[in-house]
């Protein structure tokens, strides 16, 4: 029960008892008043009976006197005065008698004897006197004497009442005393009971409250001491129990929060320690090869300084060591950078279609020399039908390469088995590549740490097998990045099996396509006349990606899905730039490149080659203008395209003819490392004057209301011997507002060559 209910109940019970007390008081007052009233009427009746009997006695005496006087005087009748006096006395007694009747009430009256007798006597007397008055005959005195006997009777009766009434009054007195005692008892009882119950109720109320408050106090004290596991117990379902419950809930939450904070702090500490540990390891790992590099190079320097005759073979051996230590260092740095990139979330995933069989075969072929070197054999088993996968090929290859070279490194005269299969798990198509070896294996303790950074199964392994201890850490991170995993099983002395599992068809991540999709197509600002780019790529995804990236920058993009189609399109449309993939079925990129360079129409078109193959040198030597290795970054392709657009000739100054400052503003935004001068006017005469004064590198014509005059002016300039060679670009029909500075520059670069411009017209 809650506190307010308890208080309300207690108060109402006390009120009920108070009410009882009041009732008892009223009842007792009523009872005593009734008895007192009765007593009063008894006393008054007593007095009246006495009075009546006295009056009767007096009347009788008077009658007797009258009789005596009458007999002495021999008078036989009452005179009128005497008659009136008698009647008055009789009436007075009758009145008293009536008062007595009223006072005593019917009940008491019946107990008082003699009333009827008196009444009768008075009636007789009255009748006698009245008769006398009516008849006019005076009352005979003897007739009065006849009443003597009856009077005596009456008086006796009345006198007897005195005793009876006295007895009655004393009886009533006793009754009053008894009633009082009774009332006192009842009142006392009621008071005691109510007081007891009130006290009990108040006691329980106070006890409950105090106990609950004590529990709350205890609880808060425990909590403030840090014992958050403490729980307050308050029985029932009352307010305080609820309060306790909320306190408990608060404590629980506080406990959870504290726990969480504690865990977070611990995690932060661990992360910090891991970071320090990583840094220490890094320092150690970098210093070790550095020691060899510096040491050997100092030795060689000393040799040269000492002018000693150097044995080329010795020098070569030492330089080899410097070289190998340097390579090791570079590998380490690259791996650390990879790790850092993954950890900072900057490592993107670039998915593309690939042939699983081919991919695995490529890697096994690459590691074959290493396998043979340690006298191992390598078996490859393919257990799948569909060889097409969509994944981040570079990372896939790197992981596989790492697992395979580990297997080769840690196995001597053994067998390495690579098994590739596909399976469906929770509706996702997975590729699993397991690399099993019969090498040295690992203990459970070593297995636990196998994916940690800078850990190798044993320090001695580094000495014997080389490596940085980062490879598997990176593999694991890559696998996770690709929504996959790497599992490992091993038995010391028997061999190890790593299994690399990734989705066969990767979902495009926000990193690459999704984001492009969201912002790309909708916001494409196609600017008529901005460079036209031809993308030749057999892979749909890759082709569309290139198209989207370039379209987004405002270039018009045409695409071809194969070499032959690409060449045809290039001849037809003479694009400004060609982006060319190398690995294509039928005619590959190299052949297309060769062909394009042979055809006169396309011989001068800049070509950007992009491929997974790192053949930059070869590409450039065969006539490509730029070479990008896939996966290309979002900005790589547009940057490469921009670099290959004709060079800007702004350094001699730009003359801008426009109303408003749209062009001027855009150009000012484009001011880069090599600033150029801009002169802007809407007045054609001014323009002519300026041109006479100095030479401009380029003339840009923007929005102008008097286009006829502008056209005439442009015609004059074109024909002029002095300025006819200055590139002049009319931009008034271009949506300048939707262009950014980069796009304007690209546009200028495309159109600044008057000849090309004419070609396009």
């Amino acid at each position: 029960m809650n506190l307010s209910k308890r208080i309300a109940l207690t108060s109402s019970i006390i009120l009920v008892f108070y009410f009882f007390t009041v009732m008892v008081f009223l009842w007792s007052t009523k009872v005593s008043r009734e008895i007192v009233n009765e007593l009063q009427s008894v006393i008054r009746s007593q007095y009246l009976v006495y009075d009546i009997s006295q009056q009767l006695k007096e009347l009788n005496t008077r009658l007797k006197v009258l009789e005596a006087v009458a007999s002495a005087q021999d008078k036989k009748e009452l005179d009128e005065n005497e008659q009136g006096d008698l009647l008055k006395s009789i009436v007075s007694i009758g009145d008293d008698l009536n008062i007595l009747r009223v006072t005593a009430g019917s009940e008491l009256s019946s107990q008082i004897s003699g009333i009827e007798l008196t009444d009768e006597l008075l009636k007789q007397w009255t009748a006698l006197i009245n008769h006398a008055e009516e008849t006019g005959q005076p009352v005979q005195i003897y007739s009065l004497a006849a009443f003597g006997y009856e009077f005596d009777n009456t008086e006796t009766e009345l006198t007897r009442n005195g005793f009876a009434l006295r007895g009655l009054s004393s009886e009533l007195n006793t009754e009053i005393e008894e009633a009082e005692t009774q009332i006192n008892r009842v009142s006392l009882l009621v008071f005691c009971v109510s007081a007891l119950i009130a006290l009990l109720l108040i006691y329980f109320l106070i006890r409950y409250t105090t106990k609950s408050l004590a529990q709350l106090r205890l609880g808060t004290r425990e909590w403030s001491k840090g014992n958050l596991a403490h729980r307050i117990w308050v029985g029932g379902k009352g307010d305080l129990a609820q309060l306790a419950e909320s306190f408990n809930a608060m404590a629980e939450e506080l406990d959870a929060t504290m726990e969480q904070a504690h865990e977070e702090r611990q995690r932060a500490n661990e992360a910090n320690q891991a970071k320090s540990g990583f840094l220490a390891n890094m320092s150690h790992e970098l210093r070790t090869p550095m020691n060899a590099i510096i040491g050997y190079s100092e030795m060689l320097l000393e040799d040269i300084e000492d002018g000693e005759e150097l044995d080329p073979e010795d020098v070569q051996a030492d330089l080899g060591k410097i070289h190998s230590a340097g390579k090791h260092l570079l590998g380490l740095i690259n791996e650390v950078l990879d790790l850092a990139k993954v950890e900072s979330g900057k490592m993107g995933v670039y998915n593309e279609s690939a042939d699983l069989k081919k991919l695995v075969t490529d890697v096994t072929t690459t590691v074959q020399p290493m396998v043979i070197n340690y006298e191992n054999t390598l078996d490859t088993i393919f257990e799948f039908d569909d060889s097409e996968i969509f994944t981040d090929v570079t990372k896939f290859r790197q992981v596989l390469m790492n697992l395979l070279s580990n297997a080769a490194k840690f196995t001597r005269k053994g067998k390495i088995t690579v098994k590739a299969r596909r399976f469906i798990e929770e509706e996702t198509d997975f590729v699993a590549i397991s690399v099993a070896d019969t090498g040295i294996g690992m203990t459970p303790e070593q297995l636990d740490k196998v994916f940690d950074e800078f850990t190798q199964a044993d320090d001695s392994t580094t000495r014997e097998f080389g490596g940085t201890g980062l490879g598997l850490a990176i593999c694991k991170k890559f696998a996770e990045l690709m929504n996959g995993r790497i599992d490992v099983e091993s038995t010391p002395g028997e061999g190890t099996c790593f299994t690399f599992v990734v989705p066969a068809i990767a979902e495009n991540t926000e990193d690459d396509d999704a984001q492009e999709e969201a912002t790309g197509d909708n916001n494409v600002v196609q600017i008529e006349g901005l460079a036209k780019v031809l993308v030749i790529d057999d892979d749909e995804t890759s082709r569309q990606l290139s198209k989207r990236i370039l379209s987004k920058r405002g270039y018009s993009v045409i695409t071809a899905d194969g070499g032959a189609a690409g060449i045809e399109l290039a001849c037809e449309q003479t694009p400004d730039i060609i982006v060319l993939d190398i690995l294509m079925p039928g005619m590959d990129g190299w052949q297309v490149l060769e062909k394009l360079r042979e055809i006169p129409e396309t011989a001068d078109i800049p070509i950007i080659m992009q491929s997974m193959l790192s053949e930059r040198e070869l590409g450039l030597s065969l006539g490509a203008d730029d070479y990008l290795t896939k996966p290309v970054d979002k900005s790589d392709l547009p940057n490469a395209v921009r670099k290959l657009l004709p060079e800007l000739k702004l350094d001699e100054g730009v003359l801008i003819i426009e109303q408003g400052t749209t062009l001027l503003d855009l150009l000012n935004q484009a001011q880069g490392e090599e600033p150029f001068e801009t002169s802007q006017t809407a007045d054609l005469e001014d323009a002519e004057k300026w041109m006479a004064d100095r030479r401009f590198g380029i003339i840009l014509v923007g929005k102008h209301s008097e286009m006829d005059a502008v056209s005439k002016f442009m015609g004059n300039v074109r024909r002029s011997e002095d300025y006819g060679d200055i590139p002049m670009i009319l931009l008034n029909s271009i949506e300048l507002e939707s262009m950014d500075a980069d796009q304007l520059l690209s546009f200028i670069r495309i159109h600044q060559d008057p000849e090309e411009d004419q070609n396009q017209d």
């Binding site: 320092s283 020691n291 060899a292 040491g295 050997y296 230590a325 320090d459 000495r463």
Partner: protein, 119 residues
């Protein structure tokens, strides 16, 4: 002739350092792990031990402690020579019982200075 024992597991570093010290006129012995280091030091009692710390089988700290515990080798001059160059690494080496501490990559002049100081 001053005899120096190099305890170093990295082949290149071992080769480089031993050659450079030999050129400076020291007699050089090499051990490739901590246990071999302890054994050789006990057997040949070199004037100076250059002790790498990250060693297989028995690391440099443990090897140094063992040499210090053994009465015969307790007074050997041991210089920690390690790529562990973070805060506290010096203390750690000194606590293990090394007489001095130097970091890799080796500054030969500095290292020679430290060696000279013990001779």
């Amino acid at each position: 002739m001053t005899r120096i024992l190099i305890v170093e597991d990295n082949e290149m570093n071992r080769d480089m350092l031993s050659r450079r010290l030999k050129r400076k006129g020291f007699e050089v012995e090499v051990a490739v792990d901590g246990q071999q280091g302890v054994d050789m030091a006990t057997a040949s009692m070199p004037d100076i031990v250059l002790m790498d710390m990250s060693l297989p089988i028995k690391d440099g700290w443990a090897a140094t402690k063992e040499l210090r515990r053994n009465e015969a080798t307790a007074s050997l001059k041991i210089i920690a020579l390690t790529a562990h160059a973070m805060d506290g690494d010096r203390q750690k080496a000194m606590k293990a019982g090394c007489d001095d501490y130097d970091t890799k990559p080796i500054d030969l002049k500095r290292l020679l200075g430290k060696i000279e100081a013990f001779l």
